[in-house]
């Protein structure tokens, strides 16, 4: 939401707190922090109206490193705290920082309800497919067979796809980015902030200590052009080094296929054009996974509701005053049946 422009142009440094950053060397969180600190000045925000709220986990240390208001809360509950904060003070620009364990395991319920209510906050879910802070147990997004201290023979539970969860819960802004892709991440953060309602951004993040290279198959430079499909509203779904591959939705929307584009292949006009307001398409894109498909990045879905939850609550509160006038406590206490003793 637009805020009062700051008196002077802020820079990245203005958003760096005096706290020493204590993530492990090489952690993807450093890159995300840098992206955020660079992106915020571009968005024209003020420090005092910006608040970072987090739960528990490596990612949740994030607020301490931002020179804004911040609240490091308890495990999984940041969405609920942020909801109360936003209801108390709708003027604030609230960012929720969570991880795959914090947001999808212990806090899955709150995340679901934040999304369905459409509270006007931005939520960044750092997905490293592992529990870092508790030393390496498998998480709800860990792959089948993941070996960890709690799954020495490999995990037997099916992983969750965060963006599919978000769409299923009714999210109206769903995006995916990559920790080290600072430029694209910055622009996603800006889009997320511009959206009125809950913005859900999954960020693939590397944990160099407990799950090093978990996303390499998608994010490493050598394979990126073939494994990453960056979607853009109104543009065909193309990927590959020379955009020689494209995605087509199968008849009836029952799935997608990858086709060769250009000489010896199909014309670009045959390729599905990304429509970020198309929810079924967003589901198809969110589910794309290696090895048969590229993974989709960018804004998968954006379809703002007329009113965010916060707007709707404020509207009702205002309407109550319009209808009944500013509440009078003495009149309230004397409403209903009373009698007087002389």
């Amino acid at each position: 939401m637009p805020l009062d422009p700051p008196a002077k142009k802020l820079t990245r440094k203005d958003f760096v707190s005096d706290q020493e950053v204590r993530w492990c060397p090489g952690c993807g969180d450093y890159a995300i922090l840098a992206a955020m600190q660079r992106a915020l000045p571009e968005m024209g925000v003020t420090r005092e109206k910006t608040v970072f709220v987090s739960g528990i986990g490596c990612s949740s240390r994030f607020p301490y490193y931002m020179n804004t208001y911040g609240f490091h809360t308890i495990h999984g509950r940041a969405p609920a705290v942020a909801t109360g904060l936003k209801l108390a003070n709708p003027e604030l620009d609230v960012w929720v920082i969570t991880g795959d364990g914090d947001g999808l395991s212990i806090g899955g319920n709150h995340l679901m309800h934040l999304l369905r209510r459409n509270v006007d906050v931005q939520l960044m879910l750092f997905n490293n497919r592992i529990y870092g802070l508790t030393k390496g147990q498998y998480s709800p997004t860990s792959l089948l067979g993941q070996r960890s201290p709690s799954t020495p023979m490999g995990s037997v539970d099916e992983p969750l796809i965060p963006t599919v969860f978000a769409l299923g819960a009714g999210a109206r802004f769903v995006a995916r980015g990559i920790d080290t892709s600072i430029k694209t991440l910055g622009s996603l953060l800006g889009d997320a902030r511009d959206h009125r309602g809950t913005s859900f951004v999954e960020i693939l993040q590397n944990c160099p200590v407990f799950n090093n290279g978990t996303w390499d198959g998608v994010t490493s430079k050598e394979v990126a052009s073939d494994t990453q499909l960056w979607v853009e509203h109104g543009q065909p779904l193309l990927f590959g080094k020379d955009k020689e591959k494209g995605l087509r939705v199968l008849a009836g929307g029952r799935g997608v296929e990858v086709v060769k584009v250009g000489p010896g292949g199909m014309p670009v006009s045959e390729i599905t054009v990304h429509d970020e307001t198309n929810r079924p398409l967003a589901f198809l894109l969110a589910q794309l996974a290696l090895p048969d498909m590229p993974m989709a990045f960018g804004v998968l879905y954006r379809s703002p509701a007329p009113l965010s939850y916060t707007d709707a609550v404020v509207t009702q509160n205002t309407e109550a005053i319009t209808r009944s006038g500013e509440g009078d406590i003495n009149a309230l206490l004397r409403s209903g049946h009373t009698w007087t003793v002389e």
Partner: protein
């Protein structure tokens, strides 16, 4: 009923006090009949206390003993402190209601039975092999046998409602009969029915017809020996404007008032739970009082939203009952370590676990005082009556914002649902406690403290130059930054404890509610047992026993003079609706020889039970 002292001019026997219990199936409308009788009794100028007692099931299987719903009212021409130990009049709408309640009726008591419900099937469901109306089961009592089902139906026959709707007027028919018997004005109930069923005029008409028919039946039918008409003269009460109030309504209004007095918006995050839900319902209607209500997805989200709101500069409030308080524990700890104001209303019920949701108990005291991980002190207040809930909700707002701490208000099911006449205070005479947010940027850090209260500064996000981060990790005393320093943690733990202890300096000294300030026995109660304990002590003193009543409203920190006060008594008896909680706190804190008097039945104390305990401890 007391022995009639005389007759009134219109030939009614004059009584000082009466206890009536309405009992029927949970679908029989007993709560409605009780509430209406309460309103008309208040109008008649009697003092009164009520005790609704209903099953957890919304509509338990008809005719069963566990589906019996009851409502007891005690009204008198003198002060009434309890809903009464035993009913002088029992209204039994079916065999199950008779079965469940008969044991409480004293010999000679009046029983009004709806014979229309005493059929074979109902008798069997209630566990009667023989019809108690036909054998000598009821011979110790005065019995009024009336086929209320049939009479109610015939009273509304002309309206052609259908038998189900016609049957449902039998509670109002019974109410009409009792209005005749106790000289109550029908008008308030008629007006209430007209407004309640404004959109269903035929239903309103039927109920009014039934009410009148019950009244006329009393006027015309020949009553058996010993059943007459009665009058309970007006009680002498302080002049003023009164209303009936339940504890939960008083809590909700107190929060709205507390918000107003603090100058803060209230953000009330809650999750439905018996018997606390009606606080949420009441507040949801008060949006024009700068109150935002949020029905969260669970108890944890409810308290977390309140903590988030307090961080944002509103006053965060949550309400719950025992199981919910357990779930909220971690987030309350967050409010303790971040030193944010937070008000938690715990309307206690019988536990552990789901326990008996609709039954009252005082068993969350330990949980309120100590039920969190770590050394996590906070303030705990316990109103003694429905009316006091208003005051303590305001007090909770004041303490929470002055000391930057969570405050738990311990109510219970008895206070929550029970009604009492309440002299309505004038809001304009209540003292304001406007909150001032910290603005000074010089040498700012978020754990700067007020040297007197030790309260942390409260900064509203949005304030330029005071950007800061707080959280659940231990913070350094000097800088407010994360700290694992051993000495610092020791110091911060002591400071958090001292801050809460400081609240005692701000609270009135503990008074003796009844009796002398020293003596042989102090009966120390808390919360909803006030009425029974006070009556019991009054009677014991009437018997010449050296006993005093001390009722604690400030559970933590304990009143600053309590140790000295208790030291003046040879014996201390602590009646509680739990397995001994306050008694252990007093023993642990003061090394005094406090003894428990417990009742863990989901029911309030009877005066006689407390009196027996007093006699036993004084060997009287």
């Amino acid at each position: 009923m007391d022995t009639p002292v005389s007759n009134s001019a219109d030939g009614r026997e004059i009584l000082e006090s009466v206890v009536i219990r309405f009992a029927g199936d949970s679908g029989d409308g007993m709560q409605l009949a009780g509430t209406q009788f309460t309103q008309s009794t208040a109008v008649a100028g009697n003092d009164l206390a009520t005790f609704p007692d209903f099953p957890a099931e919304i509509r338990a299987p008809a005719g069963t003993t566990f589906g019996v719903s009851g409502f007891q009212i005690h009204f008198a021409s003198h002060d009434v402190l309890t809903p009464g130990d035993a009913p002088d009049v029992l209204v039994a709408m079916n065999p199950a209601a008779l079965k469940v309640n008969l044991a409480d009726v004293p010999t000679g008591g009046l029983i009004i039975v709806n014979t229309g419900a005493f059929n074979k099937a109902n008798l069997k469901k209630a566990g009667y092999e023989e019809n108690p109306l036909e054998d000598d089961t009821l011979s110790p009592f005065r019995v009024l046998k009336i086929d209320i089902s049939r009479l109610a139906v015939s009273a509304v026959e002309h309206l052609e409602l259908g038998s189900k709707s016609a049957q449902r007027t039998k509670n109002v028919w019974t109410l009409g009969l009792l209005y005749w018997m106790f000289d109550r004005d029908r008008r308030p109930t008629v007006e209430w029915l007209e407004s309640k069923f404004a959109k269903k005029p035929r239903i309103a008409e039927a109920n009014i017809a039934a009410l009148n028919a019950g009244h006329i039946y009393g006027e015309t039918a020949e009553m058996p020996q010993g059943v007459g008409t009665y009058k309970v003269p007006k009680a002498v009460v302080e002049p003023g404007t009164y209303r009936n109030v339940t504890g939960n309504d008083a809590l909700a209004w107190g929060l709205a008032a507390g918000g107003r007095l603090s100058g803060l918006p209230i953000m009330f995050g809650s999750y439905p739970i018996t018997p606390a839900s009606s606080v949420l319902h009441a507040l949801a209607k008060l949006k024009n009082f700068n109150v935002t209500t949020f029905q969260a997805e669970d108890e944890i989200a409810a308290v977390c939203s309140a903590v988030g709101a307090s961080f944002g500069g509103s006053l965060g409030v949550t309400s719950t009952s025992g199981p919910g308080l357990a779930l909220k524990g971690e987030a309350i700890g967050l409010a303790i370590i971040t030193e944010l104001p937070l008000v938690i209303l715990d309307v206690q019920r019988a536990g552990p676990s789901t326990g008996m949701p609709t039954k009252t108990e005082q068993s969350d005291l330990f949980q309120a005082v100590w039920g969190r991980n770590g050394d996590a002190p906070l303030c705990v207040l316990a109103p003694a009556t429905p009316g006091e809930c208003f005051h303590y909700a305001i007090e909770a707002c004041r303490i929470a914002t002055k000391y930057m701490t969570p405050v738990i208000v311990l109510s219970d099911g008895f206070i929550a649902n029970g009604a009492e006449p309440w002299k309505i205070p004038d809001f304009n005479t209540l003292e304001r406690f406007d909150v001032k947010f910290h603005q000074d940027t010089e040498n700012f850090h978020p754990y700067q403290r007020d040297p007197d209260t030790l309260a942390r500064v409260w900064v509203k996000p949005g304030t330029p130059g005071l950007e800061h981060r707080i959280g659940g990790l231990e913070k350094h005393y000097e800088s407010g930054n994360i700290s694992y320093d051993p000495d610092n943690h020791h110091k911060m733990t002591k400071i958090r404890a001292q801050k809460i202890q400081n609240i005692a300096q701000d609270q009135p000294e503990q008074a003796v509610d009844l009796g002398n300030t020293t003596g042989a026995l102090a009966v120390v109660g808390w919360g909803s047992t006030f009425g029974s304990v006070n009556q019991a002590v009054r009677r014991a003193r009437g018997e010449g026993l050296d006993v005093s009543h001390i009722h604690i409203r400030q559970i933590w920190p304990l009143p600053r003079n309590l140790k000295t006060l208790l030291g003046g008594f040879e014996k201390i008896l602590v009646p509680e609706l739990n397995n001994g909680q306050l008694v252990r706190v007093l023993r642990a804190e003061y090394l005094v020889p406090a003894e428990p008097l417990d009742k863990i039945a989901g029911q309030p104390f009877k005066v006689s039970e407390v009196l027996a305990g007093i006699r036993e401890h004084l060997n009287a």
